[in-house]
């Protein structure tokens, strides 16, 4: 099963490589990993997406907790949560495709953020599956480049993952 795990880390040099190294050393799957400082500049928040059975995911969480720089580990998939990923996709937009891609952008509530005579850059935010769906919907051969941020997430409700 797919798990989205949020980790609060000390904002120290090398903290990211400790997490990345842990996954490669122990052979865990890692689908994506994003990290940035939080409102508290001494803390970074990392969101990572991994796959595995319950035992492996349990072990992943324990190993993450074991890292000395880790302050908190929280499995978003254990409760109601919101997942968002951002994508910028560059597409060939000439001739009849131009109108079709504009329509598609509107349907997905995406935005065109760069235009040339022959191309668009479309920005789209949503759950990863929605981004997948947009990519699938673009007619074959029109995609020039895809940039995805990797998912981030937050739990629903009034409680926060803070210190």
């Amino acid at each position: 099963m797919r798990h989205i795990i949020a980790v609060l880390l000390e904002n120290e040099a090398g903290a990211l490589s400790r997490v990345a190294g842990l996954f490669s050393a122990r052979g865990y799957n890692i689908e994506s990993l994003t990290v940035a400082p939080t409102d508290d500049p001494t803390l970074s928040r990392m969101t990572l997406v991994t796959n595995g059975n319950e035992e492996i995911v349990e072990q992943i969480k324990k190993q993450l907790n074991k890292l000395i720089d880790t302050v908190k580990v929280f499995d978003l998939t254990e409760g109601p949560h919101i997942e968002r990923e951002m994508m910028m996709i560059k597409v060939r937009a000439a001739g009849e495709n131009r109108e079709e891609l504009k329509r598609l952008t509107d349907i997905f509530r995406a935005k065109i953020i760069d235009v040339t005579d022959t191309s668009y850059v479309v920005e789209l935010t949503g759950a990863s599956k929605k981004l997948d769906a947009f990519i699938d919907a673009v007619p074959a051969g029109l995609i020039v480049e895809v940039v995805r941020s990797g998912p981030t997430g937050i739990a629903r409700g009034d409680k926060g993952l803070t210190l």
Binding site: E10, G14, G21, E58, Q59, K62, N65, I68, D69, V71
Partner: protein, 580 residues
């Protein structure tokens, strides 16, 4: 003298921090990046520096010191090759959870990343084999970082911590006021002390109902200073007790309740008891593959209780029923309290039927060997060592057959007496580790049991032993082979002895003598006891005892890799039967 508030350079801060930590010995080797620190060491006499002959030995010696004393080992190496040489020793300590602080020099901060002379990314290289590591880029962070390093190394599940210090951070001309924090609070690191009482209660309930209980104990009991609590628990419950390689000595091995080491070369009775047990109480042990054999066959009938300070050890390899996270000593104290409240008093040795079964297995005599051979059997050599030293010995070991024979035939009655590389299996560990032990206990008998292959991996340390007059006794079981490799090749590769013959061996007697030591060679069983007596009588000399043993002896019992615990090969001298 309280140095707080005094202006010190980075180099002086490092040395003063070691003094404030109560460090007796630093094992190290100088080089460009650590010269400022070596100069600061030179100007004081509180911390003694032991000059090894290879950085691997610095780490092993600090490790041996830590294993024997329970205190933090400290080593000091230079940048680049100094650090990479130490990595094997750091990884060895990591795998066995040994508290160690390794200070490494680094090239000056302005040239980090420029492939400077003797530059290597020490923090990057050591990251997977340390509990934690630091690169200190500002002298103002130095004291606090060192305090953190010792705190992290010693608390929770112990382990090595590397502190990498660029040369400019130790500049003797830049001085700042010294402040060494007494207490460290880290929001990201708060090891668990006490176990959950509800879980301990569940464990005791299971233990009270057990018909075929086994206490399975590991290195965590030694590291957690819980030997007294474990012994009381075993006595009170009357349960049979087996130990991993790392836990030997935490419970007296000469006691009848001890049923031997378990695992790949464990006793028949221990492994059969594991196979048949209905309640397994794992204490400070981590279900290593050398213990479990094939996981599918591991303790098929058992409910499992697991006490461990490291949550990630629990249900890592084997799913357990009652996990208890906490310091072993604290958990066992609580467990003893609950047991005393609930257990029937004065029932004598409980689970009598179970013991009858175990005694039956014990009568198989799985450690049997030919005592009438005209060659020295390695088992006989270890038994003789036990008799000559009367069990009062710190014994370090290298890795291979001799290590297993020592574990099987030298019964340790106290913890911290059996010092070997269990997790990483590092050949070359024994001699430098013995140096750390001998320095910690100058009056104690210290021996290193080794093989002619292992000993050559750190043989240069005989010079260190000469410089510091360390009266270690090396007991070399010389079979002319990498014995364990040869054994596997005999069993699993149709006796194709590919590169396991140690050809062109040195004359170890002359070699020892050339370092200024005493060398002795023994070839006949009848001469062995006298030779060992003579060696141990030389209380102020390092003696190298080259014992020529039967080259074809194998370690039994043996569970082949991928087999279950009950599928042991027994010694052929018993009979050819394979109990399965």
């Amino acid at each position: 003298m309280d140095m707080n508030g005094v202006d010190l350079s980075g180099a002086e801060i490092v040395v003063q921090a070691l003094i404030d930590e109560g460090v007796e010995y630093v094992f190290g080797y100088p080089g460009g990046a650590v010269l400022h620190m070596y100069d600061a060491l030179f100007k004081q006499d509180q911390v003694k520096h032991i000059l090894v002959r290879h950085e691997q030995a610095a780490a092993h010696a600090a490790d041996g010191y830590a294993r024997a004393t329970g205190r933090c080992g400290v080593c000091l190496v230079t940048s680049g090759p100094g650090a990479t040489n130490a990595v094997t020793g750091i990884a060895t300590a990591y795998m066995d959870s040994i508290p160690m602080v390794c200070i490494s020099g680094q090239v000056p901060t302005p040239v980090i990343g420029s492939d400077a002379f003797q530059e290597v990314d020490t923090v990057g290289i050591t990251r997977p084999c340390v509990k934690h590591n630091f690169l200190v880029k500002d002298v103002r962070d130095l004291a606090t970082t060192l305090r953190k390093a010792f705190y992290i190394a010693m608390t929770g599940r112990p382990g090595p911590v590397v502190v990498d210090i660029p040369k400019d951070v130790t500049d003797p001309n830049i001085k700042i006021p010294y402040h060494y924090p007494r207490e460290i609070q880290m929001r990201s690191y708060q090891p668990t002390e006490k176990g959950h009482l509800g879980q301990i209660k569940r464990a005791v309930e299971l233990m009270l109902q057990a018909k075929r209980p086994v206490l399975y104990t590991g290195g965590g009991v030694v590291l957690g200073e819980a030997a007294a609590q474990l012994t009381e628990l075993a006595r009170l419950t009357g349960f049979p007790l087996t130990s991993t390689l790392m836990g030997l000595g935490a419970y007296p091995m000469t006691d009848p309740q001890f049923i031997g080491m378990l695992g790949m070369h464990g006793t028949y009775e221990a492994n059969m008891a594991m196979h048949e047990t209905d309640v397994l109480i794992a204490i400070g042990a981590r279900f290593d593959d050398r213990v479990t054999g094939k996981i599918e066959h591991f303790c098929p009938h058992a409910k499992i209780v697991h006490v461990d300070v490291d949550p990630s050890s629990i249900s890592k390899n084997v799913r357990v029923d009652v996990p208890i996270v906490g310091q072993v000593a604290s958990v066992l104290t609580d467990m003893l309290g609950l047991w005393k409240e609930q257990a029937p008093v004065g029932t004598g040795r409980p689970v009598a039927d179970w013991w009858a079964k175990i005694e039956e297995w014990r009568r198989v005599d799985c450690l049997h060997y030919d005592r009438h051979s005209d060659k020295i059997k390695p088992q006989f050599a270890v038994e003789t060592l036990y008799q000559v030293t009367k069990g009062d010995l710190y014994l370090t070991s290298d890795v291979g057959q001799h290590q297993m024979f020592a574990a099987q035939f030298y019964p340790f009655d106290k913890p911290r007496r059996w010092i070997n590389s269990g997790g990483l299996g590092t050949m070359g560990f024994g001699l430098p580790a013995a140096m750390g032990v001998q320095l910690a206990f100058p009056q104690a008998q210290v021996a290193c049991i080794s093989g002619e292959a292992s000993i050559l991996m750190c043989i240069q340390e005989m010079a260190t032993c000469q410089q510091y007059k360390l009266p270690i006794k090396v007991v070399l079981l010389n079979n002319g082979y990498m014995g364990m490799v040869r054994q596997w090749q005999e069993f699993f590769y149709e006796s194709r002895y590919s590169n396991s013959y140690v050809d062109a061996l040195p004359d170890f007697v002359k070699l020892a003598e050339s370092f200024g030591h005493v060398g002795m060679r023994v070839e006949r069983p009848a001469d062995l006891a006298a030779a060992m007596q003579e060696a141990f009588a030389m209380k102020d000399r390092f003696v190298f005892l080259d014992v020529v043993v039967d080259p074809t002896e194998n370690v039994y019992p043996m569970i082949a890799a991928g087999k279950g615990q009950h599928e042991m090969h027994l010694p052929p001298s018993l009979s050819d039967r394979e109990l399965a």
